[in-house]
Subunit: 234 residues, 2 copies
Amino acid sequence: MKVDDKKRNRYIKDLKENCLLKDLDQEEINILLKEISEESWPKNTCLIDREKVRRRFHFIIEGRLKIYKLDPLTGREFTLFLLSRNDVFDVLSLLDDYEHDVFYESLDRVTILTVPLEIMRKWIEIYPVINKNLLPYLAVKMRQVEEYAAGIILTDIPTRLAKLILSNINSTSHKLELINDLSDEELAHLIGSTRAVVNRHLQEFKKDGTLNVGRKKLEIRDLELLLRKIEKKE
Amino acid sequence: MKVDDKKRNRYIKDLKENCLLKDLDQEEINILLKEISEESWPKNTCLIDREKVRRRFHFIIEGRLKIYKLDPLTGREFTLFLLSRNDVFDVLSLLDDYEHDVFYESLDRVTILTVPLEIMRKWIEIYPVINKNLLPYLAVKMRQVEEYAAGIILTDIPTRLAKLILSNINSTSHKLELINDLSDEELAHLIGSTRAVVNRHLQEFKKDGTLNVGRKKLEIRDLELLLRKIEKKE
DNA sequence: CTCGATCTGATACCTAAGTAGTAGGGTCTG
DNA sequence: CAGACCCTACTACTTAGGTATCAGATCGAG
């Protein structure tokens, strides 16, 4: 087996798992593959090159990438989406031609498969399965942002922090994942707060035995306690 | 012309203007009309009957309707979308089968045309034009919620209030519309704040000559001033 | 016209969260 | 292993926004 064939098989596997493409059959995937190319970005790279995001559509194969808003005045930042394997971006660029006023930054080394936007749009028309996946995908994202906004207004920071942690527990391993190795700052961005405040509350969670907190290391120590923190607010 | 024909023609006109159906031709509209029925809700009616919203899809013909989140504990409320003529709801019910955790309430007497959800979903498949309108429509809503969340985190209340007002100026008449007759409470819900706080800032806007404020009456007095309020924060 | 409901305008108070600053580990790199 | 840099932990301070309450308007139903 040639190296190229090996790669090709990896790509096929990757695409078949992707949230939008998963229901395509082998034949169709093969066709798509012709237009797709691989790309990698190093850790903590900010994609200032907006053009690239506007003109191509990306499937994430590996690594985490955040989509965030930035207040140019205060420099304050907050994360809208934390994307990882099998996710895509930027879905908004598929839907219309207006600018999406956000930034993109890799949190790990990120590997993606990428295709020209126009082609992806055409695929959606040609293969109804993609459109069928697209709609519920949009629903998920929509709900997510709605909950986000609701949380900010209705919920205090300790609760939001607890919810963030709870929603990132792997259902099989019961371990914290995806956010367990982030700095306090990144955690803050995920709940719309600031480094200092998040740390303040993490200290409390640590003191009362809910969490183990280390340098870029979060661990749940007492799940019951954590659950109680959000329940008593509900 | 019979009364029924008159109504029928009104419906046709209504549907042809609707954000999702606008690009259908006469023939197609006629087909759709067979499945559609009219309904009216009085002012300030809360649609607690979630079933109805989950099983039918609605086109707004007249009146304003808000989609809002509610914190059952504090009773605090905040408006996600303020819908009016030519808008639809609930678009999320089209996309998947999960519950949409929101409430609906009419702000005026609201008239809608309504169709079973299943049929609307089928139409989207049958008439590609609808799907073509649906995607950019979703983009608009998505951006709106994203901006909403961003605003809450990054922007103080006077600025959000000013932005709310600015974004509701009719482009031709230059008059405030859609929110000009709301109570302070409803305004508060629209920016994720509370009655008292909104009033506090409205008083200032009034004092410095930006607005005329009356009982359920908002008027812009000095547009320049209003603009400056959001610019200096940007 | 009157009564009750609703909305406004104003006061005073409280608190969570943002800000600033600082000291001390850790980690990485040359 | 030295220095730079990044993270964390903690303290002290400020403040915008939420809460509570009340009195006076305004409205509308009967």
